[in-house]
Symmetry: D2
Amino acid sequence: MSALRLAPQLMTSGWLNAPDDFSIEALKGRVILIEAFQMLCPGCVSHGLPQAQRVASLFSPSDVAVIGLHTVFEHFEAQGSRVALQAFAHEYRLNFPIGMDEIGTDGAPKTMSAYAMQGTPTLVLIDRNGYRRLQRFGLIEDLNLGAAIQSLLDERMQNLDETSATATGSTQDGCALPLK
Amino acid sequence: MSALRLAPQLMTSGWLNAPDDFSIEALKGRVILIEAFQMLCPGCVSHGLPQAQRVASLFSPSDVAVIGLHTVFEHFEAQGSRVALQAFAHEYRLNFPIGMDEIGTDGAPKTMSAYAMQGTPTLVLIDRNGYRRLQRFGLIEDLNLGAAIQSLLDERMQNLDETSATATGSTQDGCALPLK
Amino acid sequence: MSALRLAPQLMTSGWLNAPDDFSIEALKGRVILIEAFQMLCPGCVSHGLPQAQRVASLFSPSDVAVIGLHTVFEHFEAQGSRVALQAFAHEYRLNFPIGMDEIGTDGAPKTMSAYAMQGTPTLVLIDRNGYRRLQRFGLIEDLNLGAAIQSLLDERMQNLDETSATATGSTQDGCALPLK
Amino acid sequence: MSALRLAPQLMTSGWLNAPDDFSIEALKGRVILIEAFQMLCPGCVSHGLPQAQRVASLFSPSDVAVIGLHTVFEHFEAQGSRVALQAFAHEYRLNFPIGMDEIGTDGAPKTMSAYAMQGTPTLVLIDRNGYRRLQRFGLIEDLNLGAAIQSLLDERMQNLDETSATATGSTQDGCALPLK
């Protein structure tokens, strides 16, 4: 019996740098890094996104797939449109696929809710078999992230022998969701 | 005979952190630093605006007035609205007055054109008497900026004895206007 | 048939932060990081040693043992004595064991020669079984280093199934040995 | 009646990058920056000396003379010799004149005592007329330092009209002298 949780599907209203029917299903077999961000979140701009770009450049794309997820939960008028995100991605030279998290009937981004993210930036690692293995709100050190990625790379598909899944609590340096 | 040029008026469609009839005329007697930026310009976010914030915190407001100027010349849909700028200023904790440069009939920001700015970020220093004394596109070292500000602070009003005005050429690290 | 090379013994004239009969033999079973440095090497002070300290603080000491190796190949009078190294280690708060590489009859540090190091800083990773698996002169990114360490941590003792040993060439940011 | 204090003479046992009879008397007419440091003081290596180098490169040498002063008050064996300082200056590419503060009969560096410095790094600014005008232990922001230098540059020789001399208190980021 395993405590591993399959990563929820990404529910998106569109994609940048990818076809609009893009799905992380197609990436199975690779380690997937999802960087959830908002374009007007300072911690995302200064830390989270540059770190995701470093991962994309330092690991082989056939090993690690880097995905952005735009989880807008505030300032909808300013950052909620596709054109705003396109301008941002263009200026910051973000080349990896970026999904636009679909807003639910409760006004919250659906994928963000499904993952129970606490704010932005949030980094998620999904293993070769589609299980969510690490989720971190705020900062994570490059040394630790490199180790976590490699740990998943060293696993074979369908050969999981332990449950190292962790959902790490809130830290500083992020835009937190308001408590309800 | 003087080569000094009076700083052109700021032509704005509105202000944040200041009344909408705000005018730098009211600041005469102080040294004025104008930081022209665009909210989606990476060099503005990483260098220009933090430097303006340092000036605002390290010099007395009665000596040096720091002003932002949002000179949108691209991505109008994404960054052209007041609500977008407000969200940005809120997230980045920009507390100084920020003018929204008025778009002219040619589609270019009027103040940016009047100052012949080459792109963003552009830093302008205006002396106690309203003369434009330094204009720099791209990066300027803190040591040099501190010296330039102090040089103007050391002048008395209407007691200028030399023309050190400089309009410095284009450098890297900025979003340049397209050449026409 | 294996291409793996057992890590050469450290030949030292003494140790700081450890008994003088300290040997990395005692660390077998752990991954070992050796940071070879000189106290007056700017790249060691600004990059190599802070990175070694980050590894020491972010990984469990029972998993990863961090060792310094003072490989003096120039400025012997200035940095060749134990008292000089002690002062340096004290001021920079280096708490891990630091071996003083023994000077050979040719005037070169013996361990540095045995490892064929090209200069300082040089980082070496040794696996749980005592095999040298990575050697890098100059800079290595934290993401890459974290991945390399984890890759060795994921191996069992005496259960090596591939030879990922790499001896990486010279880069910038280091004090290079003069070519002979 | 003036509160300005003439800067004490530098009492040195020798100089690097200058003749051994070098004296700051010869620099009268320029603004002088003295960076007092110890080669094994981390705050000097990471902050004080790089800042002095920036001043040396960003201001004209005919306006601002940058001088190092090696004020060894601890770890004499490690950093007290000329050869140790030479190796350090060579590796860190310090090209400005560096005086070796003479050790007094009480074991303390004479110039350091004459200036009542509290530790290293300490930065001193001397005006065109030889008066000590600013002394700071620990960090000083580049913006503030640039302003302080320019303020002295804007003064004429023997035309001082105010006493802005300040002896600033102790801060962090330095190696403090032990309290007695």
